[in-house]
Amino acid sequence: MFFNEKKFICMDTTVTIKIVSQQKTNKIDQAIDEAAGFFYKIERTCSRFDPDSELMQLSRHAGKSVSVSPLLYQAVKFAVETARETGGAFDPSIGRSMERRGFDKNYLSGEKVRSTFADTERATYEDLSFDEENREILLKKPMVIDLSAVAKGMAIDVAAKAIRDEGFVNFIINAGGDIYAAGHNVREKPWKIGIRNPARRSEWIGSVRLSNAAICTSGDYERPSKVLPGENHLLDPHRNQSPENIASCSVIAPFAMLADAFSTASFIMGIDKGLKKMEEMNLDCVMITRSLDVRSTNKFKEKWSWND
């Protein structure tokens, strides 16, 4: 058993890709580089911090149907479907609110974005409409689309597909705690994934064993607002504030994009509603409350070999 690992910076986080293989081969490096290329491509297309990204070009063209790339179409479509599923608890139209809450800096250039064009009206996900046939998206009101809870998961899934297509079945992709684990680790065991203790961040509150599944965690400790004390990057669009009581929410799903979007969505929905929604969708979820109680969907602990 050999493994090779690479780290790179993308989407304002460190991405680590590790491939385990029977043979030592240059193909591992090539596969990781290709996977990284997909991360960069998706970042470039879906970033709201880059005025030239395809996403921002679309955002600036409210009022008319815009033809977009398949990648962007699918990402926005997925975000809006998630919004519909959660009655707007998750809402991709909140980009401008996020800017105002201090999440406005391009981590690569250091430049701040200020999309005042979106200040005229209050928009929601219902102001986005899709023309499937012509692959066009219409913004009925000006808005900044925020795909930060979709793009990373999507990049992980596409990277995983690229690595699989190179013939590897045992690997792990970790993008700042959003993880897809395929096959087994170098000790031929399912990958062990720790879930951070929100109060003592160097410690785990528990761990799970994953194989061919993704886990993504939304934590209130991860990105505090520099503008609003006590607020963080998780915004409840209905109340225009960060949810209380819940410290972190992890979702396990067959796809990272599902785990990513729904860890954010169920965090915002809160403990009871969020867990209920996850049960309903047959996704697995564990939430840590601010008082460090562990709450999870039925059978979560047995299913994923929870170890605390």
Binding site: F8, H184, P190, N282, K303
Partner: protein
């Protein structure tokens, strides 16, 4: 994993497939590899030098000698004891028929997988719209049944179709996981 609705499977599969097809960017100054490690491990592994068909816990065919055919019990951490940590996915398939789909630039492969008594009883290719004839991947369903996992041999010249088939089977199996 329990059954995820087909709607979400389709949304994810389409997004991933199309983003993959769109290709990637090659140059990126930040793409510096921070660390690069190659290690050999002491694990000898029972299954020697199989090509890419390494034991994949989608239901590996017992290469770790785990004979349990019941749904494995809870929270085995398997830290030290060899072969105890293949979690629920080893044999915990739920009976029923599950579908999955894999796609690429030129088409897609859809399958239907039937689980009986926790085992993969049959696999059918329900749709094949790739540029290769379906006959290229006709032998694959039998391999899945005999190996009880999605690790089929690559079909030379029809890699895409094979990958799609594997993706489709994995997707079906992920729904079948108890």
């Amino acid at each position: 994993m329990s059954k995820l609705s087909p709607k979400w499977i389709t949304l994810c599969t389409a997004a991933i497939g199309l983003a993959y097809t769109a290709g990637y960017v090659v140059t990126e100054p930040k793409a510096a590899a921070v660390s690069l490690a190659t290690q050999s491990s002491v694990q000898s592994g029972v299954n020697g030098s199989q090509n890419q068909g390494t034991p994949n816990s989608q239901g590996n065919s017992g290469s770790q000698g785990n004979q349990s055919s019941q749904a494995p019990s809870n929270s085995q951490s398997g830290q030290s004891s060899q072969g105890s940590s293949q979690t629920q996915s080893q044999s915990g398939y739920k009976d029923g028929t599950y579908t999955g789909q894999g796609m690429n630039q030129i088409g897609s492969v859809a399958v239907s997988v039937t689980i009986k008594q926790g085992k993969i009883a049959s696999v059918q290719i329900t749709d094949c719209t790739t540029s290769y004839p379906q006959s290229a991947i006709d032998p694959l369903p039998a391999q899945v049944v005999s190996r009880q996992n999605a690790n089929v041999d690559n079909v030379s010249g029809a890699t895409e179709s094979t990958n799609d088939f594997v993706t489709a089977v994995q997707q079906a199996l992920s729904q079948a996981q108890a």
